[in-house]
Point group: C2
Chain length 206, copies 2
């Protein structure tokens, strides 16, 4: 097959590009369901991220083949997650949306939102349950002691996770890269998965 060396895309290259984008969108969308967000919401995000282009509702509808209402709701959620933002082009009545382009701040937003949805409610429930449960006294039965000990165990674990997430992924956090750097230095033995995905193809951001 012929190599493309021109600075503007040939139709063939363009098609490959779109194909790659579609595949990315599909993968990201598949993951969405694992995260408990709707496939469409994940796909909209993927589309905006991978194209990097601000898009309006109709463009998104056409590209993903989903309804107007679905796009509207997905976009609203993504705005709440703070992983996309609204853009207005002067002289155009439509709203456009574009994705956060920095991967690390995107990951931080995702982490933040997931903690909020998954862990915080659990911690609140644990506090409540701990108070509702029989309290430990000087001669408490073993059952009661064990229950409180287990509740505390979970609370301690998830509490720490929350604290660290706020510390590193919070709006004013140190950043995930900082965390990663700290951890990467740690003296530990062998690792399982290969690290081939770290051989950056283009030399990634600083």
């Amino acid at each position: 097959m012929a190599r493309n060396s021109k600075a503007s895309s040939t139709p063939a290259v363009k098609a490959q590009l779109v194909e790659a984008q579609d595949r990315f969108i599909a993968s990201w969308g598949r993951m969405g369901s694992v995260w408990g967000i709707s496939r469409t919401m994940a796909e909209v995000h993927a589309l905006l991220y991978i194209t990097g282009k601000p898009m309006c509702t109709d463009e998104i509808m056409d590209r993903l083949r989903v309804s107007r209402g679905n796009v509207s709701m997905s976009v609203r959620s993504l705005l709440e997650w703070a992983v996309i933002e609204k853009v207005r082009l002067p002289g155009d009545r439509k709203e456009y949306f574009q994705a956060e382009q920095d991967v690390w701040s995107m990951l931080r937003a995702i982490a933040r939102e997931r903690i909020k949805r998954e862990v915080d409610p659990l911690l609140d429930a644990l506090d409540e349950i701990g108070e509702l449960a029989p309290q430990i006294g000087s001669h408490s039965p073993e059952d009661v002691v064990a229950l409180q000990r287990r509740l505390d165990g979970v609370r301690e674990g998830f509490g720490l996770i929350t604290t660290l997430t706020h510390k590193f992924a919070g709006p004013r956090g140190a950043g995930l890269q900082t965390a990663a750097k700290l951890l990467a230095k740690a003296p530990v033995g062998r690792i399982g998965r290969s690290t081939k995905h770290l051989k950056s193809r283009t030399g990634a951001r600083p």
Copy 2:
């Protein structure tokens, strides 16, 4: 209301205990759906964890009011996740199940499984897409460069997460507590959520 000071539970204390357990089970089960595992699966795990007692299929069915088939499938998944294990009592034909009691190793198992289900497939897809997409040459159009750059960004971010998870949560990993300790030391500014959940009620594990 009267205080209980005996070493064996009065019926009233027992009732409170069961009530607290049920609440814990409900909370944990609710979280299950956020994690993309079935409510029942999470509830079975919660039940086994919070009671600490090995239980057989019938006990689980009765306590959670779910069908035999559902328990069977949930238990199988939990065994795959390696957060519960099979126990056989001599002279009893039934299988009993008990939950991992150490919170940290439970959290590690959860982290491991989630990475496996969420991130690994994405990384594989990204590798594939990166190869399928137009490659960057000396005069590639901007589109192509941008696509590869974005793919690499995601790959780098999730790749790092995977690597760290293996390092700290893997079967031979350094442990989440080690990671937590490293991170807790890091010099960072303010944090959002309160840390009240860290005021351990019983003084948690070493």
